[in-house]
């Protein structure tokens, strides 16, 4: 019986540990509030000086329609409107880079299809919740956005929550305008 070479042993241990890692399925702790959740809440919420939730909700529906969303679901008693929108996700820079990479590979004599992995389209989902403020004179509105991105070969390439402050800022600017317009009956 010859001794097993050292590197073979290492290889075997490596394989076994990879196998064990492969068993990990569902991560834990994803229902625990993270440290940034308070900050996110502030970014996503606004207060309005009215207790007329219905008025706010109709304005929200109007703003979402202004932004090209279609309404998926609504529940006035709880104050929920959820909507979604399909949009273009092509970015000139990304495509140019991919075409350049493909060209380089072709020149070097190998195969590459980076262009097929470029983003093509996206679906943005929005959900707006209204609820009475703690002091009883205000209504709190909170909107959350998420998006799913497809690439050129129609595979899902990215899923994410949208955290860009500008997008939320823009939404609330439109909402404030819409509430004003509704109040003036335009």
């Amino acid at each position: 019986m010859k001794k097993i070479p050292r590197f073979l042993k290492l290889l075997l241990i490596g394989f076994l540990s990879l196998g064990i890692i492969g068993c990990a399925t569902t991560p834990k702790g994803f229902l625990k509030p993270s440290e940034g959740s308070l900050q996110k809440r502030q970014l996503q919420s606004r207060q309005y000086d009215t207790i007329d939730e219905e008025k706010i909700l109709t304005s929200v529906a109007g703003v979402l329609q202004d932004l090209g969303f279609t309404l998926d679901e609504s529940e006035t008693k709880l104050g929920l409107v959820s909507a979604s929108k399909k949009a273009d996700a092509k970015s000139g820079g990304q495509i140019a880079g991919a075409v350049f990479l493909d060209l380089l590979c072709a020149l070097g004599g190998s195969h590459s299809n980076a262009t097929a992995n470029c983003d093509k389209s996206q679906v943005v989902k929005a959900s707006v919740i209204t609820k009475p403020g703690l002091d009883g004179h205000k209504t709190i509105v909170r909107v959350t956005f998420q998006r799913i991105v497809w690439n050129m070969s129609n595979q899902i390439s990215k899923v994410e929550s949208i955290g860009d402050p500008q997008i939320y800022q823009k939404f609330y600017e439109s909402l404030s305008k819409a509430i004003f317009l509704e109040a003036q009956q335009i």
Binding site: T26, L31, P33, S37, L78, R142
Partner: protein
């Protein structure tokens, strides 16, 4: 010769067994759970000392929003809220139902799915109920 025949017989029997096994559909897989039904219920359910269903549901919704969920559906009459969030490349979907228990309590049940797997880990649900209890200013009670 006899040996060859017996080999053939065994082979044919095995072939039949495999063919029969092939007939099983995968539809049953969708209804499988790892934990027993009773245990799963107690992992996913808590009781709260309040009868204000609307406030409870509003708190459930804000807790879910704090946890990055986007609310897709909600219904006050049924007492259900459904939301989803992304974790890396996987989708976490969760439904929470609120229903009365007796005269003085509300039962809250959360049901989460990670990708194609049901979440059956007690700690994950405990995290959610702790966050919910804090938001409600109420103590969470384990249900037997």
């Amino acid at each position: 010769m006899k040996k060859l025949r017996s080999y053939c017989t065994v082979f044919i029997i095995l072939l039949f067994v495999f063919m029969l096994a092939g007939c099983a559909t995968t539809a049953g897989k969708a209804f499988e759970t790892n934990e027993s039904q009773v245990k799963l219920r107690s992992i996913q359910t808590r009781a709260f000392d309040t009868t204000d269903k609307k406030k409870m549901m509003q708190t459930v919704i804000s807790t879910m929003q704090d946890l990055d969920f986007v609310i897709n559906k909600a219904d006050l009459t049924l007492g259900s809220v459904t939301g989803s969030k992304f974790l890396g490349n996987a989708v976490v979907a969760m439904t929470v139902t609120v229903r009365p228990r007796g005269e003085k309590q509300l039962l809250v049940r959360a049901n989460a799915q990670y990708g194609i797997n049901s979440v059956e880990d007690p700690e994950t649900y405990q995290d959610f109920f702790v966050a919910l209890g804090k938001a409600m200013f109420l103590t969470v009670q384990q249900v037997d």
